[in-house]
Amino acid sequence: MTIEVRNEQTGFETRENFRTTIMKLDRPGDPSVFGQSVRADAQAIIARYPAGQSRSALLPMLHLVQSEQGYVTPDGIAFCADVLDLTKAQVAAVATFYTMYKREPTGEFLVSVCRNTLCGLLGGDEIYAALTEALRIGMNETTADGKITLEHAECLAACDYAPVVTVNYEFYDNQTVESATDLVDRLRAGERPAPTRGAPLCTFKQIERQIAGFFDETSLAADANGSGVPTERGIRLAVERGDTAPSYATKPQPSAASGAGTSAPAKSAADQPSAAAAQQPTSEHDAPLDTAASDPAHPAKPEGQKD
């Protein structure tokens, strides 16, 4: 994710590490644009850390600033400095270090395409190129309607679902040029296609508030899907093959005198993944199972609770 800049005189592209670039601070910044409720949120963040360690609140507070303004503004820097008793230079130095703090107003949806080696070779490079064509924008640029900001990202930790795209950091797995183009078309048309894994899509500002650590019942999305076929491949195959880890439920206690601990581990029902896990369809939405893989004898739901 190097920032590529064409040198006017030589015509060559020069490479610039974003961590060495500076924040565009065109004005001193006014902390008072953040009202009482944001100040209360800032205090709630500070309270998560031990007394006297308020600076730990800086990273979440910069996310909070983005949840209000869509990027790290001069006002946001002044606000963090004000609340945490830091200099603006100290705050800006931190803000410029991290990729997720944006230098320019960010669109309603931040579309990130993984172009690291694995996703890149499996199609991520083509997907990114196609999106720049479709949206007529490049790295860290935003469509004129303010809907979409595009970036190519480093490894998003979903390599078993490669190639991946995230929208406001929710996963859209196993993408193709066609599916990714369709995704941004739908976003621009005002739709909010459901992510493969993650909660229902919200706006960039709303997701930044979550990253700052503010959740309510809706944004916690307890029912949202966090799994998929690759995640469950190993456990399903284990059930199919009848493989289990050594049991610890019925294993005799190791005894120095008898050497019982060296005997072959016994398989116990309690440790065997449920055959039900294999029979269920692979989950598109956390396919509910009646019993747990490790405990077929007991329903996974609390007693008395029904689906």
Partner: protein
């Protein structure tokens, strides 16, 4: 080789991230047992189990815990490194998204063992669904009395703070993570002193990976001998191998430490395009790549090092004969160039130049001298930077040149990539 699901055993069951469901599947049984034990006995148990850190380095966990000075009157902290971002690594996120309570249970046990009353889970900022799940799980655990004051009536108090990062791979390095958690630029600290004595807020601190702590409740329940029934004695336990790339069924396969790629590939249905295996990483891009000839190397912390690589994060990225190793290496070096924190000159400048050399090689403008330049630059990065990021960057360059020098030469002599030029410039010229 049988699969040995332990950490992944709840995947695919009914909403395993909810505390009621977790409790039904042995959930918090390990904690209940741990609270009846002396803290020192817990440290000894984890030491006996030979549990080694799942974050990549494989440092013995029990030893890390033992390093925490006791009765020193200072606060102690436990910090969980959930800043997963090593290329190829996709193991901690699914674990937190599906079974966050196993990590939380492990955290409470670790805090009890090292006499810490506050733990911080530093989750990669982009991993928003993991932040969501862990935050929800922490709230549930407070409500049920597993967190807060007087945990389960034991008199022990512990708090967990979930902390989202902001996009910097370097924060997976434990001292950079601590600086970041203190609200600073995430740059590594000089060691010694180590976090065990001078960690978060200069206090004694244990920094453990997600999978490491999630393993602890099972060790408490099963005992050290049970844990050592899986894998080799010196590097035991179940290991979640994350298979990705040119494999028919990519995914998470939990098998005993010391499994081989031949065994794993068989489980995962073989190569995806019917092509020959060409190169692969045993544990992320920072571990030197392996080839066909390493199919039977045992993938555990010790054996992988003996064979010239590392088990790392057990992130097995698989590439076949149609994948260009120069292009793969270029993309990895672009990653290290982007993620270098800039503190150490060899890493900051070395990756900057290596990316350019690799780029011209891939696009047909390279010379034979460039191959020596790459080796020279790698040699000047390796061992000459504060942290392992620099060493990691040297890995793909040195190992690809070791095994595939011919392919680099073909790029020079053929004035371009033998796998075909790829012009992927978008409309806006970016």
């Amino acid at each position: 080789m049988p699969l040995t699901p332990v950490l992944t055993k709840r995947f695919g069951t009914n909403q395993p991230w909810l505390i009621d469901n977790y409790e039904q599947l042995d959930g918090y049984a390990g904690l209940r047992k741990a609270l009846t034990m002396e803290p020192d006995a817990l440290i000894a148990l984890v030491k006996d189990s030979n549990l080694r850190g799942r974050g990549g380095a494989g440092f013995p966990t029990g030893m890390k815990w033992q390093f925490i000075p006791q009765n020193d009157g200072n606060p102690h902290y436990v910090v969980i490194n959930a800043d997963e971002g090593e290329p190829g690594t996709c193991r901690d996120l699914p674990l937190m998204m599906n079974d966050p309570h196993s990590m939380i249970e492990g955290i409470v046990i670790a805090c009890y063992a090292v006499r810490a009353n506050h733990a911080f889970v530093y989750i990669r900022g982009e991993a928003v669904h993991a932040i969501r799940r862990v935050s929800g799980a922490v709230a549930e655990a407070y409500a049920k009395g597993y967190l807060g004051t007087d945990v389960l009536g034991s008199g022990f108090t512990v708090d967990i703070t979930v902390h989202g990062g902001a996009g910097a791979y370097i924060c997976g390095e434990e001292t950079a993570l601590l600086d970041s958690l203190e609200g600073k630029r995430g740059q590594p600290r000089l060691k010694p002193p180590f976090p065990a004595t001078n960690g978060l807020y200069d206090a004694p601190t244990v920094v453990n990976n997600v999978g490491t702590l999630a393993s602890v409740p099972y060790i408490v329940l099963g005992g050290a001998e049970w844990f050592k029934e899986m894998g080799p004695e010196g590097s035991p336990g179940p290991c979640i191998y994350s298979l990705s790339g040119r494999v028919t069924n990519p995914g998470q396969y939990e098998a005993p430490m010391g499994s081989t790629l031949r065994e794993l590939l068989e489980l995962a249905g073989g190569m995806s395009r019917g092509k020959q295996l060409k190169f692969w990483t045993p544990g992320g891009s920072s571990t030197p790549m392996f080839t066909q000839e390493h199919l039977d190397i045992a993938l555990d912390f010790d054996a992988a090092i003996k064979a010239g690589s590392m088990n790392g994060t057990s992130a097995v990225m698989i590439f076949d004969e149609d994948d260009c190793v120069v292009r793969a290496t270029l993309k990895w070096i672009e990653f290290y160039e982007h993620e270098s924190c800039g503190k150490c000159t060899p890493c900051r400048e070395g990756n900057y130049w290596m990316a350019q050399v690799l780029e011209r090689l891939e696009h047909g403008h390279g010379t034979m001298e460039d191959l020596e330049t790459l080796l020279d630059a790698s040699d000047n990065i390796l061992g000459r930077s504060f942290c392992a990021l620099g060493d990691g960057a040297a890995s793909p360059v040195m190992s690809s040149l070791k095994y595939f020098r011919d392919e680099y030469v073909r790029h020079v002599e053929g004035k371009g990539c033998p796998f075909g030029a790829r012009v992927l410039v978008g409309a806006a010229g970016h």
